[in-house]
Point group: C5
């Protein structure tokens, strides 16, 4: 599993100085499909829309109509959608020129909300969801097909909870709540990943470990950038002035706000933990270097003096030129004395190192992460 | 003692996109038991409730009724409790889907408070306490049996202080105060633990020390996350608008707020101290590496040149081929001169190292933590 | 490409204690040229102005007049411009004594806006644009010829969008928007540059890499200083009190504000990434040092003991003086045994090192930046 | 001098869940003594109070009465004091359960102020001063006898300044001002201490230096925690609503507030300086390690190759078996050539090292702290 | 040039608990001189005042009177000045007990402003300027003779600008502006100094470099402490309530405020740059250590194995005792084979090192600071 964000164009594609309100269609964007769910306490109509001109006939027939648009590749469809729902050109530009920062804006009688889903399939990925909320409709735009909104669709289809009885504002809340809930499994995966990294970093770290910790940090940074503005979004919705949200829905939004704060809390904690991992890594590396140095020092410190002694008795001073010239070479006990002296020196050195505490190699760090909180 | 938080599921268990207000019972949650203390200045009735339908008959008989629910494992009981006390489904969801961030919310006529107890038995652990305050009752939910509220129970039983004469608001305050007070012994343990770690880090640190310091840092991070929102909670209670709190109780809440601020202060100080320990650790390690290097350098620097000299006089140039070929080998004083020269070089080297200050090994850091403030 | 800011005099040239309102012309400033675009829904007049006294005759003939001044080297022209447009001396001083921090100030009936363009040709460079907005004119001053405003000119010339139909306030917005948009390509280049640096830092970093990372950090710091105050500028314009901005233009300013926030977000993220690169660099360097040490230790630890043994058997103890003096020299298997012993020691050492995991050189960090988000 | 805080129980002694308002007397607290100064423009009465029941008779006789209580060890005296002055039980609990955070609270008609004195005798120490201000009295509680309030007593006794003419509010201000002023000599000592540490850290640092810098940092952290809340206290007093403070005294409080801000400024600067010292220490240590490595490298790099050469000519190839076998051993110039070659190699190496700049040992850091600002 | 602050007593000289409003004359303070400039549109009178009693006769004769007092050593003069201008004792104490934090305070009808000049002659130094502004006079106190206000004096003398026509408020502004402008040349010097340090740090850093960078950091810290409160001062003046400042002067104050913000910006940037220099230093040092280690490793790794081989063939095994004992010594090609083997090993090692990239010494960091922005 790679918990890094898939490479996406994080800076919106803008032609410098383009006319404001221009739709800058990404040529790689998938084609646009439109699907409608219109429902009320008594019924549900769900179908794909091939001809946009059918839309006006559908809206208003049911208490709530949810029009979902997947794929931002078809300029004509998008422009026509904008006209049908009376969307301001600047808002439509924000829908298309992804990514935008999450935000809430009022345009006349409807509310424009930009939010962001987080996925973790093979990579971390985020996708912009733009939502227009009117009196009796919700209009959503997504970058690609596939989303985390299926539970909401199920609840509508099966009439679970109060969604079928409530208005468009409750649908908007339910969609936002589903988007926010989608961050929890992502966080859970990051929690597990950090635990793996911690075990790695204290046992067998190599230089790729740092790269992985950094990748995790960067992924968390992405998450942070995605979730922070959503706090403001939820807060703004609770306080909006257009009167679109009922008191009951506001109560639910308060709950949703709590979830966002909880996600932010967790992301910040994970970021601190990831930073701590780098400290542990540095320590592990220092300890290893230390151990390498100790081995070198022990070996060199024992054998260099001994080698010197052997060198002395390997000198060729002429024992016959003087009786003071290396007489030990001719002693009966000479060689044995030399060996015993050398052994004594080695033992003394070893005792010195033991006293220094260098002989016991430092044990691996004993963190039992199973007892750690994530 | 391990001052690390027990591994708990820090992210609430949520089925993505579940219907809001759904109780997601943790299959491992302990079964639910209900206990009532109903009291007034004149009397006290305390008993376990087996049949929830007895409850309505008890409430209102005494000026104050405290219903305590331990264990979140029994969906029926919890749901029925919610109905009996007219608890909003979203609030009940917050009770069950632990952990929630500490907060205060108004629901109609009663106040919903989420707070968090800290324990330190074998591990650091925290547990959510959810509290509903009505006109004449307090309803508390705890994750498990066992809490830090026994002193409050004792005061009710023995009629100590003003608790029996005061209303439900004072009971709510007393419970909150007991929860907050429970952080002080935890902090005291952390203070002692940091002192132990400091002694360790300046005397015989190994790589497990860093892991322990990090564990302490993480535990403090958990405490911080638990206590910070409680500040807001206490503050919000002092300022609540429902008129549930009397002026006297508000005065007590101000005191409680001071305790929270004091705990926050201490946690932040401990976090700074823990970070400082890592600096000291790095320094201790650097000093050790330095000492290792010095020993290597002293030994190598003395004996490598001497070894070279011995090597020179061990060369086999033919002294008979020329009178310039190693004539010293045949000198009467040759060997003795060589040895004296070597000894002289060694002494000069040692003097050089003493002048450099390398011979005195650096003493261990002298912190006398007994004089340090925690 | 060098993503460092060209050396410019960042502190405005001020004669200490000069009379406030004095124009302190930089002797190296390019000469001043004036160009006018006067337009309305029905027409466009565009021409260079050689004689400033023509200006009063032009303004007012068309609904909107844009007077652009390039080059701040000509005191007379600038002073005369100030008189013609009734510019306050302090404002004019701010125009000339570049660089000034971006800001909005009201002077009587017109608005004075200081903003800052960012370029990235060979180096990162920024240039001050000063803008005066009156009822029916916009007056801009630039440090040098050449800017990022050509798209606006094109839109005026070709009548694209609503610019020809809108008033001077919309022109001011359009210019500001073009200035802000000019940061996006700069950011994109920095994104690519950071990616290159990341590849470098994990593969073949040398000391120039740190210098380059630092240069990028400093460039980002410049960008940050340039863009932060623009947030305040955009915000102040949305809230200005003179009534110069229409509601429609304010809506567009809100969009512009979003872009500024997005740029700030990205700059902050890049700064975090750049700081992370220095961590990776440190790690790479540590790993290399470690590897160097390992090679030294392996070689020294194997051959120093072996060299000692060879030295022992190279001693000249007289085998004839005693049968205990180095008898092995005369053994039939002496030499072969010695070689076998040495080989055995070497093999044992190698096994020890393999067990320590020192023999496998640590692989280069495996970041696959193609999967990273920028 | 040890600039570390004496080990005190930093977390107030609390029996978990005790009845709020309970006095938890520290068994080690010194006994309680009470002393009264009652004065007005015309006279002064100063005496120890042995029987608390005398107190009511004294208060009111003079315009201002200052009752000072030293030592918090006597429950009865403290309780009776509380009753006599109508002190709220929660306030009295705050007086006794030290340490409390500095704060201002209104209780009915009088003001309760908690502040904190800083001492530096052998160790840094702080002591809580609790102050009650009524219409015509000031009541102070101190943990121990001995304080920094003698200058105020002198001024009262000698009638210096306006203190005898002013009311109880001015006395309260004067006491607070004396407490604040007591921080300046402490800061001065820290300034000198940091200067000593800086000299140490750049000249002969050892591992105890880091411990001392850390102790200083921790002491400054204590000071910071003690002084920060006092800013709020002074501010709150300037803005209090009970009308206890006259305009003149408020002017003096403004002055007092300035002193607090100045102390905070200095503490923050000292903290930055102390952090900088750790950087310098790290650098000094790195430089030393570098120097050690250089000596090792120079010696080893010169003598290991020379030793190798000596070893070559010490080989025992039989010169008689072939004329190609070590013929140089028999050359007339053999030995001399060998020595000359070795000397040449050594000189070349030395030149190489000089070119690398390794021979000049790096000079000690030249900070002339006498020119530094503290 | 030393860009460190001259050692000054940064904590004001206070006798603990002194009577508030006491002038604590520094015995080393220079004697006090008084000089008056009284002027209006029509005339200027400028002279030294020897007898303070002349002052009342001068004030009021001209529209504006500026009384400047240099030197704070003469208690009588200062006290008398205070009486003449009706200065509050607390304000006068702030004038004398330098240094005070910059601030604005209202005392009855006049405004008391404390500000701070920055000088950079041999050292960085700051000096307090205290300014009283009344209806028709400005009274300034400086610690020493010599200031940066001469340009203002010149403008008054020569009647440049509007100063002679404007009131005392404009004079106060002009003085403040001159004080603020005095920071720009100081900053410019710091900019150059940082550039020098950057060149040093990437080319030939030694341990004194860190000390110099730290000195620069500390100097910038001093500047920061001096300039930050001036922002508040300028802001407070723009908003003061006494009506002393005319609208025109407020416009000029807005300009002055911009300069302060610009200085703050630059100081913060310089502080970041200085911190970055320490990173570069650490890197340079690490690289050097790395290079030292590489040289040691290359030499040792090549020659230790060769030395071992030489040692083997220097062993004295008796070739005559067995034909297996060192037969190579008697081979015709023995010596030549040995030398060739050794050379081969050396070459193989060198190839190994080249492949590792250790042979090319890392080039010095290539920052071309001439292209950097300051």
């Amino acid at each position: 599993m790679k918990l890094v964000r898939r490479r996406t164009r994080k800076i919106p594609r803008r032609t410098v100085g383009a006319v404001p309100g221009t739709l800058q269609i990404d040529p790689e964007a998938p084609p646009t499909t439109v699907r409608v769910m219109a429902y009320g306490p008594d019924g549900l109509e769900e179908r794909d829309i091939d001809d946009l001109e059918d839309l006006p006939g559908i809206i208003g027939l049911n208490p709530v109509t949810w029009v979902n648009v997947d794929g931002l590749g078809d300029r004509n469809t998008l422009t026509r959608m904008g006209e049908l729902f009376n969307v301001h050109p600047l808002a439509l530009e924000n829908v298309v020129n992804v990514p935008q920062r999450s935000k809430v804006e009022e345009y006349g009688e409807h509310l424009f909300v930009v939010t962001r889903m987080a996925f973790l399939e093979e990579h971390l990925d985020t996708e912009q969801v733009s939502l227009f909320l009117g009196k009796n409709f919700v209009l959503t735009f997504q970058e690609r097909a596939g989303d985390c909104l299926d539970p909401v669709r199920d609840r509508i289809r099966k009439g679970m909870g109060r969604i079928r009885k409530a208005g468009a504002d409750y649908l908007a809340y339910a969609l936002l709540d589903a988007v926010i809930d989608g961050y929890f499994p992502v966080l859970e995966r990051y929690g597990e990943h950090l635990q793996e990294l911690e075990e790695l970093v204290t046992s067998t770290p190599d230089s790729s470990t740092v790269a992985r910790v950094n990748a995790a940090k960067r992924g968390l940074l992405s998450l942070r950038r995605a979730i922070w503005p959503q706090r403001e979004v939820t807060n703004a919705l609770m306080r909006e002035d257009l009167g679109l949200f009922s008191d009951v829905t506001r109560l639910h939004l308060r709950d949703c706000y709590d979830h966002v704060v909880q996600i932010i809390d967790t992301v910040e904690t994970y970021r601190e933990i990831a930073s701590g991992l780098l400290d542990i890594y540095q320590t592990t590396i220092s300890n290893r270097m230390n151990e390498v140095m100790k081995v070198l020092t022990i070996i060199a410190t024992i054998f260099i003096p001994l080698g010197f002694l052997a060198g002395v008795w390997g000198m060729n001073f002429n024992t016959e030129a003087s009786r003071w010239n290396m007489p030990e070479l001719n002693w009966t006990w000479g060689y044995r004395s030399a060996l015993i002296l050398m052994a004594t020196i080695a033992v003394v050195m070893l005792l010195f190192f033991r006293r220094k505490g260098w002989l016991g190699s430092s044990p691996p760090a004993e963190v039992s992460p199973s007892e750690e909180e994530r």
